[in-house]
Symmetry: C2
Subunit: 580 residues, 2 copies
Amino acid sequence: MKDLNSIRYPDDIKGMSIDELTVLSEELRAVLLKKLSVCGGHAGPNLGVVEATVALHYVFDAPTDKIVFDVSHQSYIHKMLTGRINAFTDPAHYNDVTGYTCPRESEYDLFEVGHTSTSIAMSIGLAEARNLKKGNENVVAFIGDASLGGGEALEGLAYAPSLKSNLIVILNDNQKSIADNHGALYDHLEILRQSNGQAANNIFKALGYQYIYVGEGNDMKSLVNAFSAAKDADHAVLVHINTMKGEGLPAAEADKERFHYTAPFDLKTGAPRVYDESVDYTDIFADHMLTKIRDNKNVAVLTAGTPGAIGFSPERRDEAGRNFIDTGICEQSAVSIVAGLAKGGCRPVMGVMATFIQRSYDQLSQDLSINDLPGVIVDFAGSVWGISDVTHLGFFDIAMASNIPNLIFLAPANAEEYVAMIDWAIEQTDHPVFIRTPGGPVEHYDGHVNDNFLEYDIVEKGKDGVAIIAAGSFLRLAKEASDILRANGVEMTIINPRILSSLDKNCLDSLRDYRQIITIEDGIVDGGFGQKVAAYMGAYGVRVDVLGLKKEFLDRYDAEKVLVDNGLTPTQIAEIAMDK
Amino acid sequence: MKDLNSIRYPDDIKGMSIDELTVLSEELRAVLLKKLSVCGGHAGPNLGVVEATVALHYVFDAPTDKIVFDVSHQSYIHKMLTGRINAFTDPAHYNDVTGYTCPRESEYDLFEVGHTSTSIAMSIGLAEARNLKKGNENVVAFIGDASLGGGEALEGLAYAPSLKSNLIVILNDNQKSIADNHGALYDHLEILRQSNGQAANNIFKALGYQYIYVGEGNDMKSLVNAFSAAKDADHAVLVHINTMKGEGLPAAEADKERFHYTAPFDLKTGAPRVYDESVDYTDIFADHMLTKIRDNKNVAVLTAGTPGAIGFSPERRDEAGRNFIDTGICEQSAVSIVAGLAKGGCRPVMGVMATFIQRSYDQLSQDLSINDLPGVIVDFAGSVWGISDVTHLGFFDIAMASNIPNLIFLAPANAEEYVAMIDWAIEQTDHPVFIRTPGGPVEHYDGHVNDNFLEYDIVEKGKDGVAIIAAGSFLRLAKEASDILRANGVEMTIINPRILSSLDKNCLDSLRDYRQIITIEDGIVDGGFGQKVAAYMGAYGVRVDVLGLKKEFLDRYDAEKVLVDNGLTPTQIAEIAMDK
């Protein structure tokens, strides 16, 4: 047996026996567990595919053979076997690698991926490129752990065999999604597992795949045999492997939902190292929605496969009962289902991560907004204080959604405004409403919430001809900037616009004599709210400074540094206002 | 037999015999054919579903039972049976109805729909609403004619049986897409047809549907029996009907692609009434791409099921051979396949309607732009002179795509610039490029095309402190406005920005002393290019007038009237420039 640190690249495992590969897998799992316990991460998914990843690199010849990891949150072991073991064995280097495949790190990583269900289509592209270039490498899509049910995955699945050339889909069936699986497809996978792959009406065979079932998806010999049988096929093959999510960590095997993505934990007990008992916006949302459901049985809450991200813990889901609908990771369908529920007389509210709602642009526009149906979308982590992975950025949502006609885009600045907007959105029946959950820590407001949300709210009236219009959670920055200005003898007008999809022209017209307007928003400036203000006031020649985030893809950034880089600290804002 | 004009609502056909329903179908078909020959429209799709639609309304009880038409381009017969026969029998009223379901017309139309693959998800929403309200009506999704392969349809298909309640999918399998079918799913449908629905490995049975096959999908008795068997089921049923696209018009049965959507034609021969021999931008694109393919075997052209809309006639497809890829109506996969092809070293160019590329927002952002892969997207009908149906509007593309980081969004103003941009986009390997095909008639430019497309092009330098920055096909309007101004003694600077995703700050800085800048773009102003200019110049207090289309959903509009309404005629533009 080689020393783990001598395993640098897949070539280093090619000569091993099955037993040695099995031992190696255990060693890799132990190293992974240690890092996970310190750093957190996608524990369950990666623990479940240790053997499969070792077998993958044992059988296939990357980087010549092309391996595409769907979502790529299951690529930790792949990284360990492709030149990056150090980032797992050495705590000083834990942070050297991202949590997803990353071509900047390694040629073994083909794409930066973090949204689900794209691997088969990308593999079709790689296979078509190979065919045009008359190459003969294998193309492998590694998919599963919730991502198969997404529409794009199904498109690829329903297309690939017609290429009549090599394309291998490895379906990691760990019997779970992020939370529970939902939908008939997953019922079918269960039938396949129960029949050891022998069920009549096999969906993969129906589509023309050579189908290989591996009942013991954590057994090295079974995996190596299956992958070897698929390798170099001149047609499409689907290898269905039945794995244990969280394998090797009893707590993760027992509570798969909690360990899908976990914070640092105690290696022996699995208990979280830090208990965060504070209430955040997901709690506020979920608890409030439970009261709405209690009051009105026509209210329905939807998630597209991420109930935890919107506060709907298993307990809250139980309480909501049939009024909580999990569509699986099918964001497109989820929005169309919202349209159907609204048309059917219900009051649907879909909670969704800002980074994922962009998968439904067309449904937001066509099904909800053209039809002008009163569905409500509440997005989370749409903020510089959201998720900092490049594939999960949330600060594009204003530009994405606020320019769709009919859709009312609201950005509350605090918890009270947030809840009032949800109530208002459910109450009205005129339009679809998109509510952006504030970023950062929960802010409270103890005054009266003016619920005419189509008009701007003047928070403070200043006398010095300078106004700041500060959207959502950036209202706090505006207030701090105002304090600095006041200390310098300048009294600024502070406006909370609340609505970002249209302008309050009466309010803006009242500012025509101002010497300066500053807009500030917790999102990219391009396509955002400030540019609308600038365009409106531009015709009057009023100076408008539009502040917000630069249009760029950031990765694993520090939010406070990004604010500085974009001139968004209170001090910097105050300086702009004093630059007469 | 009743007189056709006495058929107002479904109740009027409930008592009929099968023979009477058959006769009625022939009468409806004759009326439809006459209107189609005069007005054009979705001929093949509707001719194929005459019997199915009559059977649908005979068996089910709309509007209590909910019928959702996918894409809803096959709803002509439905309209004839639900209070709108007059719009088909009386030429004076031909224009009274839209080409899609339209709730403003009738309570029998549930949704305004024009994009594919949403019907099952919408039906899930209606079914869930029914279940929450403890209703017992049937919910029917009528899908097919190309739309089943789209990801959202597959999401719905893979989910619905898990509801364990009534939901009926009628799959109209006419063996065609808009053009040919592509992909393994359609190979499977063929196997089902050939086996009279008896094939092993039935994908629908695999997913848990009660599956009913109707081999004679234009035979009334078979249809009535099948729909009656599905009606009131307490579970999900899929009725697979094998129909003849274009039934009853020999020319349409023979050339299904041409008659999918047709211009007016001679009722006897099927020959078009008007031959348009002029070259349009789709011809320019397709012919140019064929030369690229001839020169470089790594160039691939892609379409997501609409080859005709990008100029790829059957003949041109034959010429392109393997370098032309039709993914079927799977816009999401198509963009990810572009990413895969680019990663695999090919030079992919996807042609797509502007209204449909919005189905790929997430893939444009994640797969292409985060990965910064040199895939090229060329969109068509992204213009006020595009398609005027509310579900097919093209003028949201600037707002949708130009705010995505890394993606270079180009708007050529004429054919020569267009071709040069395509060449440039294929040549460079730094970024994804989005090229917006000009709207309106083909314009030519006989000068040298400056191909530094990241900088603005100064078309004319004026001396009077007024500049107009006119994007894409609106450059023509700017030139005409400039002529008016010149006649009034004002010399305007005219700038063609070409790039809409970033600003040429050097050029804009040179305008800081101007008294006025006008921007004009062939798209909505919100989220568009002019607002970026206004925001940049706003900090200098320069007056900027941002012209373009209002953010709104228009339906079957007159383009020239819309230009007037938005102040976009040359005269109106000139007036703004003279409003000192």
